[in-house]
């Protein structure tokens, strides 16, 4: 329940960042190596999706590379879960250890999957940084 509690807490802090024409639509949790958990909140409007990355204290992140890293990790995990046929019933935190664990179930191995998924994951991460609601440096 700990992650669900964190998602609830961070979601509540992210909601006020929604513009009048937006709604907070989702939340992802990722923890790059050597970093604290990063919560990527999505906001939907008629013009598309905007993102806001918050730290464990529910404060908006300002470090573009950390946001990029977290989004890329979340995207890689998404691809590898799909390849490994993982069906999730509970929220999960995307970490390198989790990526290794589900990657070990792949016949072709994790390295091959990551190699193929990497360009798309990087493109997704760039979009998250570009469409971030607060300034990143």
């Amino acid at each position: 329940m700990a992650l669900a509690d964190d998602l609830e807490r961070v979601s509540a802090s992210a909601e006020p960042f929604a513009d009048p024409n937006e709604r907070m639509s989702g939340i992802l949790a990722a923890q790059p190596l050597g970093a604290s958990p990063v919560y990527l909140c999505s906001f939907e409007s008629e013009t598309g999706t905007a993102w806001l990355a918050l730290d464990d204290e529910a404060r908006p992140l300002t470090d573009a590379s950390l946001v990029h890293e977290a989004a890329s990790l979340a995207a890689l995990v998404e691809v590898v879960e799909e390849l490994a046929g993982v069906e999730l019933r509970e929220p999960r935190l995307a970490t390198n250890a989790y990526l290794d664990e589900i990657g070990s179930r792949l016949e072709g191995g994790l390295a091959a999957a990551v190699e193929q998924a990497f360009p798309a994951a990087e493109a997704v991460a760039e979009q998250v940084v570009e469409r971030h609601k607060t300034p990143l440096a």
Binding site: E8, G26, L28, L40, E78
Partner: protein, 95 residues
């Protein structure tokens, strides 16, 4: 793995899938909140009902007292649930 690669290696498809997963997690959180709300409401209603029943003055034999308490409970418990639920919803709206 060629040909079977998810999302066709397309960033837009991957982004769509990521957004859908993010939405699922947000829905899971909302569902957990609703369950927590329902449990808290019922627990508080039980406590309120028990406290109210302790104030009820019953007369007669054991059987008559049991019937009186059951009748009181029939009225008190739904009222306590409604009261606590309304109070909590008011609280939730203010968040």
């Amino acid at each position: 793995m060629e040909g079977g690669f998810p999302f066709g290696g397309d960033p837009e498809d991957l982004m769509r899938s990521l957004r859908e997963f993010a939405e699922q997690q947000a829905e899971h959180v909302q569902e957990a909140q609703r369950e927590q709300f329902a449990t808290l409401t019922l627990n508080t209603a039980v406590e309120l009902t028990a406290a109210a029943l302790a104030q009820v003055q019953t007369q007669g034999g054991v059987d008559q007292q049991a019937l009186s308490l059951r009748d009181a409970m029939r009225v008190l418990f739904p009222e306590a649930v409604a009261l606590v639920s309304a109070a909590r919803q008011g609280f939730m709206r203010e968040r």
